[in-house]
Point group: C2
Chain length 203, copies 2
Amino acid sequence: MGRKSDAGDRILEAGAKLFGQRSYAAIGVAEISAEAGVPKGSFYYFYPSKLDLALAVVNRHWERQRAEWLRILTAPDSLPDRLRALFISTREVQRQAVDGTGRVVGCLFGNLALEVSAQDDPVRARLQEIFEEQIDIVEDAIRAAGEAGPGSVTAPREAAKAIVAQIEGMVLFAKLFNDPGQLDQLWQNSMRLLGLENGRSAA
Amino acid sequence: MGRKSDAGDRILEAGAKLFGQRSYAAIGVAEISAEAGVPKGSFYYFYPSKLDLALAVVNRHWERQRAEWLRILTAPDSLPDRLRALFISTREVQRQAVDGTGRVVGCLFGNLALEVSAQDDPVRARLQEIFEEQIDIVEDAIRAAGEAGPGSVTAPREAAKAIVAQIEGMVLFAKLFNDPGQLDQLWQNSMRLLGLENGRSAA
């Protein structure tokens, strides 16, 4: 049981690593199994298909990222400070990837979203839910800040969506140019999107 | 000569269509040739490899899009009006794709960028140049508007980059949700990024 469970974890880790590096279509079960150090037959013991593994990888990635986003965005700091912390965390993830692998890995959800959007499949549906949840978390932070003081934003949902879109666009640039520094502009841009241009406290 | 040139065009059209629909890695020379209605051997008469075709597809797409962006962004209208025209044009491209194929195709450059960024290849280098050119064109429009009147933007390069990133992020949502309406927010967000929140004229 212990060994089997280890193998399942290794397959999940291998999938997360490979899907972060290359296109989903380019990666096969044989390569994932080799990376995990398990026989190909073991793969199918844990996952009926590559698609099921992709779903598991996406779900675990969101479970961790969601906890981090909630921790940062519900902290007792001003909204600008909370957003700044979120963007520093985002940049750090990419900087660590560069230190470890030489590459900005980008956003797993964005990478997969562009690839699977042509099909109606469970990964696409799950990614839709995850982006909605990301926007929800940012929206809640904006609303809470507005309730706590001046500087309320007139359209929190739209502002939250604009911020998440800005993250995705800037992470795309960071990946294309292999440069986490592309993310340094996120905070100032988000302040503008919120109408808080000088980063004055809103909570 | 006429026939051969037709075949080359058909291969280019087939590549543009297929790369817009699915992942680059998932599409082979055999499928592109079949879509173009030419023997596989003909493919290699025109393109040494799939990569060379991808470069040709990217270059032709940018040649057309660049002409459209320049036409719109150098028009004798106010900066807000020019940006509005750019976003209406962007949304129309996606809406026409939905009418024709049932699918938002997204941004060819963004789709490929996320897929090829893990490799150092000529497509990646070309996409870096194209995104820089897109930012250049928007920056020029912002600067020209500032010179022509009040409402000058303090950091035109950063603002231009924020706008192009916002387009990429929103096009990702449009593709994931298969909904061109996701792009309706682009104009208002860009006004905020430029500090022109009420869309007041800046040129």
